[in-house]
Subunit: 346 residues, 2 copies
């Protein structure tokens, strides 16, 4: 049994707290300064407002100012905030972190470092926050098709735990594995992180097709399948260029996670609104204001910028779908004209 | 310009006739002895009853007894009947076939030969029908995500044309390629045929999940994504064992075609009924009687038999999803108990 502290009390943080409690660990769930409305109802014994479940009594809840208590002596720490929140949250967490034990993360995406260069989150956080504080916590990225609502309800789910040292991933897997939560440990941290970030960007394509249909285009299952396959091809290329392994993109971290994200989720919803003809920036603003904007919108920009940054190793011509999505979402290109003319290459 | 004869006036044969007419070829569409009700309305100038489209006037229609006229001098012949029909149809066609020119095929599946061993259709037909008649028509298998209704309506579609000699696939691609019909030629005939057959079997899994949800299980996008990814892993293994290339399974022939089939189609519908608790054989009987049963049901049996046949090269333990689906559909295993406990290995 280990002591787990989960940072972030949104959908996924809370679901992982439930998974850890189910596996018999002592679990602390800390809400950020934006999470009071998520933490307060369970503190009163009411269901979690997003997961709409009563939390197991083994989960102790902590409000934002209590971060020191939440982290004191915690062996396993789970970072479950979005890419905007990861630096501010970990800045506050670092002074309270014990030196050892894994740092698990469901945060997806790449972030620009101080020099403007885009880097993987594990890389950036380790270099800018953990190492300067003398912390050597190994990073364990959690990828794969995992909607929080479902994992909290014991719907069979398979995920990937990725760490540079595979034994760290195996240790976390042994802690959290359960009958409905299957964990595949891997040492392909770079590949798994890239898949998690890029699938959000590419999932937009499925929503764009749905939006076109809603404004009168015929059904386009053929096109969606073609774009899904193209997305996997482009994600695989990117994974390899970042030092990851192609099989990571072809397994549950890539194919699996893109599948769930393109079928259901807010990245798809974002695309649907844009496909219906609403201006992409307006949709983003509206979803941001209602707390519904997810990583796909920024991931398209970061992914595109990363592609430019890697222009020595990668050619834009090999990423026609990413280019089309970027043109639609950030340059006002017409959805049908652009998306339906993507030249796929099998 | 070439003369195209399409054998089979169902959904896909008629859609390919439309594609060929659109590309400027002389097209003849022949209906089998089961297709009178599909051919007669267009002969009277009415829409095709399944595609619900008026056919271009460039398409000449032929009823079953007119097979000789339909095939006279045809350079390109397209076999567009199901796996049950391919041998009887080609037996009647062979005496009328010119010796040269490609035989394109959308027929999916494997068939048992006279010795009971299961073989790829291209292999079996060439050895048992074409070669004995002194015909050396190269076989071009058409794979990839292609619903007939959509391709006939110019919805952007990408397909694979596969021939043992890549130049034959390229020749056909040059004939039929169009702005909304993108063809990738390949020489991986074995891989493409295996993908087309197995995706029908595996698409059942998605329907089973849908059926479970309809009888009260919670949403299971996580599970569907996990099973999709597992299906691709198993199809890839099978493709390689059959002498195909893994990238065929990972591209539009595998990932793309499984995507469209699992999202929409009668194999999914079949699974949905079974997932709701109806006996698998009863569902098959009912769908067969209404002409709605597709290849997934027999493909599960043939696929399973093929796996046994290849037990020297393949291990059943590497095909847990195929085994689960076979147990559910052919051995009466409980859907939830069996499908939701499949042990995936990433």
């Amino acid at each position: 049994m280990a002591t787990f502290t989960v940072l972030g009390a949104g959908y996924m943080g809370t679901a992982l707290a439930v998974v850890a409690a189910r596996a018999g660990h002592a679990v602390r769930l800390w809400g950020t300064w934006l999470d009071d409305e998520l933490v307060d109802p369970p503190l009163r014994g009411e269901p979690h407002p997003r997961l709409r479940l009563a939390l197991p009594s083994e989960i102790r809840l902590f409000r934002s100012p209590e971060i020191g208590d939440a982290l004191a002596g915690a062996e396993a720490v789970v970072c479950a905030v979005n890419s905007d929140g990861v630096i501010p949250v970990l800045e506050r967490a670092v002074p309270h972190l014990a030196p050892d034990g894994p740092l698990l993360s469901v945060t997806k995406g790449f972030l620009p470092g101080a020099d403007g260069r885009i880097r993987r989150i594990s890389d950036l956080v380790s270099a800018s926050l953990l190492e300067p504080a003398g912390l050597h916590r190994p990073w364990v990225h959690i990828g794969g098709p995992c909607k929080a609502m479902e994992v909290a309800r014991k719907v069979p789910t398979a995920v990937v735990y990725a760490a540079a040292d595979r034994r760290e991933a195996e240790r976390c897997a042994a802690w959290l594995q359960g009958p409905t939560y299957t964990i595949s440990p891997t040492d392909d941290l770079a590949g798994a992180e890239a898949c998690s970030a890029f699938k959000n960007a590419y999932a937009t394509a499925s929503g764009l097709c749905d939006g076109l249909q809603l404004r009168g285009h015929p059904e386009m299952y053929n096109t969606k399948a073609m774009l899904f396959s193209q997305a996997i091809a482009e994600i695989t290329r990117m994974v390899v260029a970042l030092g990851g392994r192609p099989e990571t993109a072809r397994g549950i971290a890539g194919v699996g996670d893109l599948h769930v994200t393109a079928a259901a989720g807010r990245n798809r919803t974002y695309g649907e609104h844009v496909g219906r003809g609403e201006p992409p920036d307006k949709v983003a603003d509206r979803m941001r204001q209602s707390g519904e904007l997810t990583e796909g919108y920024p991931a398209l920009k970061t992914g595109w910028d990363l592609l430019q940054q890697m222009s020595g190793e990668l050619s834009v011509a090999d990423f026609p779908l990413l280019e089309a999505l970027h043109r639609i979402v950030y340059q006002g290109a017409d959805v049908a004209d652009t998306l339906l003319r993507v030249k796929v290459r099998d």
